[in-house]
């Protein structure tokens, strides 16, 4: 019996799962100590037998318990070590994305379209190559009109031209559809201008609403544009200044308080505290006459998407928007 006591120490001193297994065999195996001890019982008296048996069984279950506790303990220890060996220097791993990104101009366009679509405006598109009638004449810009100077135009040899605004889409829609009209026309437009602040191609979104005469007012135009500009730029102040466009009358330009300096005056707003963001007005009767609409009233507005994108995302260089520059684009993941 004294012998068995030593095995308790052996279990306690075991250092790995293999040693535990060896001990288990030495104790409980066919030739193990327990088997030997039980064998010795044969020679004992009956009275002693039951005493020995009782004692041996107590030891048996105690040893089994010790073994399993120790084994679990050692297994846990070994797993811990194994995992330790698999340890990483997590600081080696940075989170640099492999994802692509959408172009900020197109994303801005999406946001604008989303706003007007939610307000039940139809989305209309049209071709880039246009004729003089749809791009100019029908928009109250006859051939000799000085305002044509404002829009230096790309012409083709066959007298067609690249649209200078998306307004021809509105003319085409009005020619094809009866009022009421409630639409926006997003798309690329072209002016013959190429410097730091101008690219020969840029994107516009123009809106048009036409309804019965007397129904559409300047106050309606103000309402939707104030709301729209706040949707796009957050809490900004909006002001309107009278302006001139051949296709609207009265016409106005809308300014927002400078998003950079909050109206205090900075380089971006030329120290005025205001940023000019869109043009708008009540549709000129000559435009309705050109598309043969009678007894209607309407408003129209137009804006440059690049300008919006540059103000919203604080992009400094207009030309970089047309260079597929990953250094710029990856910032918009």
């Amino acid at each position: 019996m004294r012998l068995l006591k030593e095995w308790y120490d052996a279990i306690n001193n075991a250092t790995n799962v293999d040693a535990i297994e060896e001990i288990r065999i030495s104790i409980f195996g066919k030739k193990g100590v327990l088997a030997t001890e039980f064998a010795k019982m044969k020679t004992a008296s009956n009275e002693d037998k039951s005493k020995i048996a009782k004692e041996l069984n107590t030891h048996k279950s105690a040893l089994m318990n010790e073994l399993s506790v120790k084994k679990t303990e050692l297994q846990t220890q070994e797993l811990e070590l194994a995992m330790q060996a698999e340890g990483l220097d997590v600081s080696l791993y940075s989170t640099s994305s492999e994802a692509g990104a959408l172009h900020p101009v197109m994303e801005t366009m999406d946001r604008i379209v989303e706003y007007f679509a939610a307000l039940n405006f139809a989305v209309k598109t049209g071709g880039m190559v246009e004729d003089d009638f749809n791009n100019f004449e029908a928009l109250n810009l006859p051939k000799y009109h000085p305002a044509r100077d404002m829009q230096d135009t790309f012409y083709f040899k066959d007298e067609m031209l690249l649209r200078t605004h998306t307004s021809p889409v509105q003319i085409r829609t009005m020619m094809a559809q009866k009022p009421p009209i409630r639409m926006i026309a997003p798309g690329a437009v072209f002016r013959r201008d190429y410097d730091i602040t101008h690219t020969p191609m840029f994107h516009q979104i123009e809106g048009l609403l036409v309804d019965e005469k007397g129904k559409v007012s300047f106050a309606n135009l103000k309402f939707i544009l104030e709301d729209f500009l706040k949707f796009m730029f957050g809490e900004v102040e909006v002001r309107f200044r009278p302006s001139f466009f051949p296709f609207t009358e009265p016409s106005a330009e809308a300014d927002i308080s400078c998003v950079f300096c909050k109206g205090d005056g900075c380089r971006v707003c030329s120290h005025t505290g205001w940023l000019e963001v869109l043009g708008c007005g009540i549709v000129d009767p000559n435009v309705f006459e050109a598309v043969k609409y009678e007894n209607v009233s309407g408003y129209a507005f137009g804006l440059g998407v690049e300008r919006f994108a540059m103000l919203i995302h604080q992009i400094g260089d207009l030309r970089s928007l047309f260079e597929g520059d990953i250094k710029l684009l990856e910032q918009f993941r």
Partner: protein, 779 residues
């Protein structure tokens, strides 16, 4: 258009209005302020008078002056050549901080004490309008010796540059701007009083005769003057320099000044230009030139000017003595813009004004000009005028109060409307009840209809004073085709970005030479761009690919070794028909450098590129193909087939093109965007039972296309085979001209778990078909 406060003040009293308020008002009435410049002459610079002026004993170019500065007399040494006794000057006194940073202190100049400095214009921060020191003359009013210069309105002025819209020719003069301000501030215009003493004058009719062959839409008015001793006063010199103008003679400078002030187009001719000989009467003939412009001729058909367009150099009055004819003219802007559109001829400096509408009230401009001449010379002015007027009647616009309110969406007070219109110079005296009958003065040629009138009311009431109001809308379904097209593009853009591609935008312009060299079809010449902006953008693009290659090249130079770009944009065929393409470019490494690839990412290859494109547009088939252009690698080039239809091309870029653009291995794909699917997906019933996989390694000739193997399996396959894909290719010398292709089959039944026999018999069916149709089989 440049105005200054002091100049405006000649026509409207603005003294109580702060510059800030003035700028705000300009903006709110539609005259946008572009630039504000305040002239700030420093303190301690005062008016003085040179009492004595003597040569400096030790310096030739210096003068020693005794200057009266009101409170005392100072000795000042001055180097200017125009300093002289009796001159009123500007003196910087001791302690003055000059704009240059210099502080005035008592100094000794070559041994002579000097207590101050007599200043030139630029030394006190004004534009450099006269040589030497400033000579204060009688044109500068209210000058008291000793007064601070910066308290004088002429020298503490604000210059405001306003940007005018094309319709506002009436504001291209100081008087015109003042007229608009008079409506905005509701205060009257000052009348410039002109005293004419006609009694003792020789009538102009003695020296000038005007004839015309027919009626023209032209107004002309002439005065004649015998010029003598004309000197430009300081005020005019200063103001001309403020508007950045100079002229070669005083009389021409004065014409320009009077034109900028009054808006009336004024020209000065040599009287002799129209004379046959020295004694005869000058004869002016108004007639049409070969381009149908109204022109001023001499009797022997020498052209003096084209009305509203340009004055010939020969007829200009270039000297300030002798008889000069002063002409005021007006021609309606719509007439000259139309004629210029028909035959573009050279135009002079005043064309900008006349094409936008110059001032038609000729007398006020001409009288103003004569007053200037009278004040600044000892000239004799001839009595009377010679003039020619067209028959013009003001246009009449009738509009009711209700119509005005409906367009604005807000009711403006009736009396306010009347007041506004009156201040703008519109005659409303014929109005009755709620209906306005408005007679529009000629200088507002831009006002033609009701909405033009409303625009005037809106801008003067102030748009910010009109309350916003939502539009009441009738519900309607406005989700039309264009909207769905837009949504489709958005969907594909998102898919491409999610697959690692960057969206790029390029101009629809491209370079003819480059396109041509790669074999792209360019626009037929009669449909080509007429006025390209640069020769690298001289045609419309037939493809998005060249733009993407250029962008990829720039990115590679920028240090990017894995470049993924896409664009959805318009292209044009040779007939200039527009269509939309979607293109993808993949260049260099498949991924970035990282620990995961030990710094050696794999290069992009055909399989990986096809995988990436599939992620974006869904499954498609490829078929060997040769592109019509030479951007592609001939042997890694395919048609992209979707639902049996060719929708575009996918290829590796030709090694030579990679060299051209300095690029690593690059792949391109260009698809017809309209042919990409927008169908809503439908789900098919899927089996719940286990799937099994089985690989077959087929030995087949290298020349055999997988597409033929695929189509045989496609037709022969049993119901159990739900998918099969080529997963491995192997060839070695022992195989010779053949190779081993491993195809992995996925099998499943929807009614029960597969048995081994199901699999074997399916595989046998496939093998039999391959054997009988293509004579290929297992190794």
């Amino acid at each position: 258009m440049i105005v200054t406060r002091s100049w405006l003040n000649e026509w409207i009293d603005l003294e109580d209005i702060a510059t800030d308020t003035l700028c705000k008002t300009f903006n709110s009435i539609g005259l946008e302020v572009d630039r504000l410049l305040t002239y700030a002459v420093p303190k301690k610079i005062i008016f003085g008078k040179v009492l004595e002026c003597e040569k400096h004993p030790d310096a030739d170019k210096l003068n020693v002056c005794k200057v009266d500065i009101g409170t005392s007399i100072r000795q000042i040494v001055c180097g200017a050549s125009n300093v002289r006794e009796g001159l009123q000057v500007v003196v910087a006194t001791i302690g003055a901080q000059m704009p240059s940073g210099l502080t005035i202190k008592p100094v000794k100049l070559r041994g002579v004490e000097s207590e101050g400095m007599i200043c030139s214009a630029s030394e006190i921060g004004l534009p450099d309008f006269m040589d030497g020191i400033i000579e204060i003359d009688e044109s500068v009013q209210n000058v008291k010796l000793g007064d601070e210069v910066n308290k004088h309105p002429l020298f503490s002025d604000d210059l405001i540059e306003i940007e005018l819209t094309a319709n506002r020719g009436d504001c291209l003069s100081i008087r015109g701007v003042a007229r608009d301000l008079s409506a905005a501030f509701n205060r009257p215009l000052k009348d410039v009083v002109i005293n004419t003493n006609e009694d003792k004058r020789v009538g102009i009719g003695r020296i000038l005769n005007l004839s015309h062959d027919k009626d023209y839409h032209v107004n002309l008015r002439y005065k004649a003057v015998d010029l003598n001793n004309l000197v430009l006063p300081l005020v005019i010199k200063l103001r001309l320099s403020q508007i950045e103008e100079t002229r070669e003679s005083c009389i021409l400078a004065l014409m320009l000044y009077a034109t900028h002030s009054s808006g009336v187009i004024l020209r000065a001719y040599e009287h002799s230009f129209f004379q046959c000989d020295k004694e005869s009467m000058a004869k002016i003939d108004l007639a049409e030139c070969e381009n149908n412009f109204a022109c001023i001729y001499t009797t022997d058909k020498k052209k003096a000017s084209t009305v509203g367009i340009i004055q010939e150099d020969d007829s200009l009055a270039k000297i300030d003595t002798g008889i000069v004819l002063i002409e005021a003219s007006y021609i309606p802007p719509e007439i000259i813009s139309k004629q210029m559109q028909e035959s573009k001829i050279k135009s002079g400096p005043l064309y900008y004004k006349t094409s936008r509408g110059s001032e038609p009230e000729l007398n006020q401009g001409l009288d103003y000009c004569m007053k200037m001449i009278e004040m600044n010379s000892e000239s004799d002015i001839y009595g009377g005028v010679i003039e020619l007027c067209d028959n013009y009647e003001n246009s009449i616009v009738t509009i009711s109060k209700d119509e005005i309110d409906a367009i604005i969406g807000f009711s403006v007070d009736k009396s306010e409307i009347t007041k506004l219109l009156k201040n703008l110079g519109f005659d409303t005296s014929k109005s009755q009840g709620d209906s306005y009958v408005i007679s529009v003065p000629r200088y507002r040629h831009d006002i033609k209809n009701k909405q033009d009138i409303v625009e005037e009311i809106v801008r003067l009431v102030g748009i910010d004073n009109i309350p916003s109001k939502p539009f009441e809308l009738k519900e309607e379904n406005r989700l039309e085709d264009d909207y769905f097209w837009y949504k489709k593009r958005k969907t594909y853009r998102h898919k491409a970005a999610n697959s690692g591609f960057f969206e790029s935008l390029h101009f629809v312009f491209d370079e003819k030479k480059v396109l041509d060299s790669y074999g792209f079809e360019i626009l037929v010449s009669q449909k080509e761009l007429l006025n390209p902006i640069v020769n690298t953008l001289d045609t419309l693009r037939p493809t998005l690919l060249t733009g993407m290659l250029k962008a990829a090249s720039a990115n590679a130079k920028n240090g990017y070794s894995s470049i993924k770009l896409f664009e959805i944009g318009s292209v044009f065929d040779k007939e200039r028909t527009e269509s939309v393409k979607m293109s993808m470019l993949f260049s260099g490494f498949q991924t970035k450098y990282s620990l995961a690839n030990s710094g050696k990412p794999a290069k992009i290859d055909f399989a990986y590129f096809v995988q990436k494109v599939t992620d974006i547009i869904g499954s498609f088939e490829l078929e060997a193909f040769e592109t019509s252009h030479s951007l592609s690698h001939k042997y890694q080039c395919a048609n992209v087939i979707l639902n049996g239809e060719v929708i575009g091309e996918l290829f590796r870029v030709h090694p030579n093109v990679e060299t051209d653009y300095d690029l690593d291995t690059t792949f391109l794909c260009e698809l017809s965007f309209d042919k990409l699917s927008t169908e809503l997906k439908t789900a098919v019933k899927t089996s719940k039972y286990q799937t099994s996989q089985r690989d077959l390694s087929i030995i087949m000739p290298k020349s055999m296309k997988y597409s033929s193997v695929k189509s045989v399996i496609e037709t022969a396959k049993t119901n159990e085979i739900i998918a099969f894909d080529a997963v491995d290719m192997y060839s070695d010398e022992s195989l010779g001209d053949a190779m081993s292709l491993t195809i992995r089959f996925t099998l499943q039944r929807d009614d029960r778990t597969l048995e081994e026999e199901d699999i074997t018999s399916s595989m046998e069916t496939v093998l039999e078909a391959l054997k009988s149709k293509l004579e290929i089989g297992l190794r």
